[in-house]
């Protein structure tokens, strides 16, 4: 390889968990450094190169006018732009505030709201073209690695689109909905986590966002039959991907 691809990692409105997940690739981190030039990453580097990048991993949603400008600048200087985690894809948890009037939300946190300029929270795709998405809250290390490898091999990342249920079955788990009457989001949620929560007896919260073509109304009606009220169900769908076109309806748009 002639020159190592240049990687940048940015953070907008989010918790930095996705970046940490990248940092946690400890056992292969030296391999990554050998293959890529991590040229911009404020969390871990003192000197950052801002001239332009082959791959930018952008974490966090967009929630202020400044951020809108910034993401546009990043797009211009980036060849391959990745929405890194759920916040960058569709706003994720910060976007829950989109259902509260802007001023109410602001005044809950800030005493003087006159200095606050915020917009509704959207994923970066609302403002710029996105080349790939890494689902998850945080994005799963396996999918990060799959993306990096695909970049080196110059192929499309091979990420499956089926729901968590498939991975649950791989692990011989009893279905939490049928056996324990829990409101598990697994049937509409993209796989990739290895069904971590259901394997430990906890219902899927939907942190990987929607699978391809989810049947959300069918799941909502199952939740209803289990005794959950409309508010509970809305909250379920709002939590990680309420702004996504797939979940919008059940999230109460």
């Amino acid at each position: 390889m002639n020159e190592k691809p240049k990687i940048a990692i940015f953070k907008f409105t989010g918790c930095a968990g996705c970046q940490l997940e990248f940092l946690h690739l400890e056992e292969i981190f030296l391999d990554i450094l050998e293959l890529f030039d991590i040229s911009y990453w404020v969390m871990v580097k003192r000197d950052n190169d801002e001239t332009g990048w082959d791959i930018s991993l952008v974490e966090g949603g967009i929630s202020t006018p400044e951020e809108i400008e910034e993401i546009k600048q990043i797009r211009m200087k980036t060849k391959f732009l990745v929405a890194f985690g759920d916040c960058a894809i569709g706003g994720c948890i910060p976007s829950i505030r989109n259902w509260t009037p802007q001023l109410d939300a602001e005044s809950q946190v800030y005493r003087d709201t006159s200095v606050i300029q915020s917009t509704k929270v959207f994923g970066i795709g609302e403002y710029v073209k996105v080349d790939a998405i890494l689902k998850g809250c945080p994005a799963h290390r396996d999918t990060i690695v799959e993306l990096l490898k695909s970049a080196l091999l110059e192929i499309r990342p091979r990420l499956r689109q089926h729901p968590v249920c498939v991975e649950c079955k791989f692990r011989d788990n009893a279905c939490l909905i049928t056996s324990k009457k829990m409101a598990c989001m697994g049937p509409v949620t993209s796989a990739g986590c290895g069904a971590i929560c259901p394997s430990l007896g906890r219902e899927c919260e939907g942190c990987f966002g929607p699978m391809s073509n989810p049947n959300t109304s069918a799941l909502a009606s199952i939740f209803k039959d289990l005794g959950f009220n409309e508010k509970d169900i809305k909250r379920k769908f709002r939590k990680y991907a309420g702004m996504s076109p797939e979940f919008r309806k059940e999230a109460g748009h």
């Binding site: 690695v145 091999l153 089926h162 498939v166 079955k169 791989f170 049928t178 697994g186 509409v188 049947n215």
Partner: protein
């Protein structure tokens, strides 16, 4: 005399059964697995002590298929710097599975039919040979099970030992020499008395009475009921609730479709080819490189599952591929997956006598091949960029053996680390040790081809499928119609029929070829040569010309070319028409051919689907009951024109 009576039966006391199991565990010669609890459910899992074993279970979450076809398994490992350092992976040490219910034993026997046919799956076979099955007669019937209706609640075969609960002891029916030796070595038994034998058969009779769920029709009737109701509104109605979660197929003991993909280490030095479970309810099951999805509508995928179980596999193998375990009914959230419910709902409607409608009866011969997963090494000898999107590759096996293909067949081409793709052979069969393929850049594997160079290594499996029966075309006129990339497989046929001596065996040949635009038209130089051959006529057309294109052929769709073909009634009966092109083309071209008076049985087509394994196992390429990788890709139009999924 019932068969079971001829089998040797022993009696083992309850505590001696525990000792027997503990002896097996302690001996460490086998991995001992059995039924145990997981929360409020049961699973097959490793046993550390006999006390964990729960022979009184109703049903397990997953069937024992996970021990023979694991959810995820490595087929081979490779080194990317030396791509042909391929190592087939090993299967685990011998295993004993304790507590398998009769329906699961029968499901394994059904799996054998597919996986141990003339193209054996080595991994499955090794595990099967390596495993001792200790069955147990059902003590508690699962609420959703309808095994008695499927006659799978008891079995006479498929086990090494079979336990039957008799209050303070267990009867052990010996099913094999292996089982007998095991019992003698590790267990303390006494011979069964005549009264015990009687008791066993009473118990087995009694089991049937405990099933609450029953089918309204015999299992032999599934095919008739399904075939008559292919367009019934039930499919649309029930599938509206489907979550496409794939659970029904994952938990099914007779669903054994799989997907294969390559994985590489981050430093791109090592990789492995991994097989995982796949299911026909998942949308990307039929996704091909170009992005096309067959059975895109969920109601079609939902319907497919029932037809595969109740009609497609029964027509092919003679058994209904459902054992009535009820697992899908338990796993399905909207409760639409239970075949018992669907068949009972449909049983009030019409039945059909012609159950073979969605299936081709003729058996295509399949050559016995060694290892079905491991490709042979080949080298790229020559590359020729044909158009912006297509490259021709001349490939030779490193052992210089010819491919030995028929025109129309395909190969599975591997680029290690990226994956495998089915690609048609584009050269005619001949004595040459090399063959040609043309690759269009669509998916990951095909795009990767564009970065290769002569001397690079590839893996080849095949040739696969049914090619053109060129012998049956002799003494006939040939009308060959190719659209777009369809000219690639067509070229293998053209090269054969115009070649030297072969040319005399066929009458007039007309080749019609339509491309999108002049820059995408393939093999233009060869067309010039073909035209020069006696009584070979070529007609070319492009959908459109843009300014600056140099094009002497026609413009318009391929269907406009048939006006130029003049056949009288006598001729049309003696004409063989071959059509290869994108799926949209067939309907229109075939109409033209019928207008010309060419009978349907003289028309041959080649169809594209996702041929993943090439050996009729992975399930991806099915058109109704037909495997494109085996009965196709070349079909007689008359055989498949009534298959609803063929030209949708």
């Amino acid at each position: 005399m019932a068969q079971s009576h001829s089998k040797i039966v022993k009696i083992i006391a309850k505590r001696d059964l525990n000792t027997f199991v503990n002896n097996l565990i302690k001996d460490k010669k086998h991995n001992v697995v059995g039924v145990k609890t997981k929360g409020i459910k049961f699973v097959f899992g490793p046993l550390e002590n006999a006390s964990e074993l729960r022979l009184d279970y109703d049903v397990t979450i997953l069937p024992p298929k996970k021990y023979f076809l694991p959810p995820c398994e490595t087929l081979m490992d490779f080194n990317l710097n030396k791509p042909f350092n391929v190592k087939e992976s090993d299967v685990a040490k011998p295993r004993i599975i304790i507590g398998v219910h009769p329906y699961d034993i029968i499901a394994l026997e059904q799996t054998d039919e597919l996986y141990l046919d003339s193209q054996k799956d080595d991994f499955y076979k090794k595990r099967r040979d390596n495993t001792i099955i200790i069955g147990v007669d059902i003590q508690k019937v699962s609420e959703k099970s309808f095994a008695a209706s499927m006659k799978t609640h008891v079995t006479d075969s498929g086990f090494d030992l079979m336990f039957t609960y008799l209050d303070d002891s267990y009867a052990v029916t010996i099913g094999s020499e292996k089982g007998k030796t095991l019992l003698e070595k590790y267990g303390k038994t006494k011979p069964a008395a005549e009264s015990d034998i009687k008791k066993i058969s009473e118990i087995r009779k009694n089991i049937a009475l405990q099933f609450k769920k029953k089918l309204n029709v015999d299992k032999e009737q599934w095919s008739n009921v399904l075939v008559a109701n292919y367009d019934h509104p039930i499919w649309e109605k029930r599938s509206q609730k489907c979550m496409e979660c794939g659970s029904c197929t994952m938990v099914c003991p007779t669903c054994f479709c799989y997907d294969v993909k390559d994985e590489v280490s981050i430093n791109l030095k090592n990789g492995s080819r991994v097989r995982t479970w796949d299911g026909c309810l998942l949308r990307d099951f039929t996704l091909i490189g170009s992005g096309e999805v067959f059975r895109d509508d969920i109601s079609k995928r939902y319907r497919h599952r029932f037809y595969r179980k109740g009609n497609y596999l029964p027509e092919r193998y003679g058994f209904v591929a459902c054992v009535g375990c009820g697992r899908c009914g338990i796993a399905c959230l909207p409760d639409i997956a239970d075949p018992c419910d669907v068949i009972n709902d449909l049983s009030h409607f019409e039945r059909s006598d012609d159950t073979g409608k969605f299936f081709i009866k003729q058996k295509t011969e399949v050559a016995e091949k060694g290892v079905i997963h491991i490709p042979r090494i080949a080298t790229i000898k020559r590359m020729e960029q044909l158009t912006e999107h297509e490259i021709l590759f001349e490939i030779e096996f490193d052992d210089k053996e010819p491919l030995g293909h028929k025109p129309g067949q395909f190969v599975e081409v591997s680029i290690f680390g990226i994956g495998e793709a089915p690609i048609s052979v584009s050269s005619g069969p001949g004595s040459s040790s090399s063959f040609e393929i043309v690759v269009r850049r669509v998916g990951n594997v095909t795009s990767r081809f564009f970065k290769m160079k002569p001397g690079d290594k590839l893996g080849i499996r095949g040739p696969f499928g049914n090619g053109f029966d060129v012998k049956s075309f002799e003494k006939k006129h040939l009308l060959l119609s190719a659209g777009g990339i369809g000219i690639v497989p067509m070229r293998s046929l053209i090269q054969y029929v115009v070649d030297g001596e072969n040319r005399k065996k066929y009458k007039d040949i007309a080749i019609l070829y339509g491309a999108k635009q002049p820059s995408e038209a393939l093999f233009m130089e060869e067309f010039k040569d073909w035209c020069k051959i006696d009584d070979v006529k070529c007609e070319l057309t492009v959908d459109q010309c843009v300014e600056g294109d140099c094009w002497t052929g026609c413009t318009g769709l391929i269907t406009t070319l048939y006006a130029k073909i003049k056949l009288d009634r006598y001729d049309s009966e003696n004409t063989i028409a071959v059509v290869i092109g994108p799926s949209i083309m067939y309907r229109y071209v075939i109409k033209c051919l019928e207008t010309l008076g060419i009978p349907d049985e003289n028309i041959f087509v080649s169809l594209e689907r996702r041929m993943k394994c090439g050996v009729g196992k992975c399930g991806h390429c099915q058109i109704n009951g037909v495997y494109v990788c085996r009965e196709g890709p070349v079909f007689n139009y008359n055989d498949i024109k009534d298959l609803p999924e063929a030209f949708e």
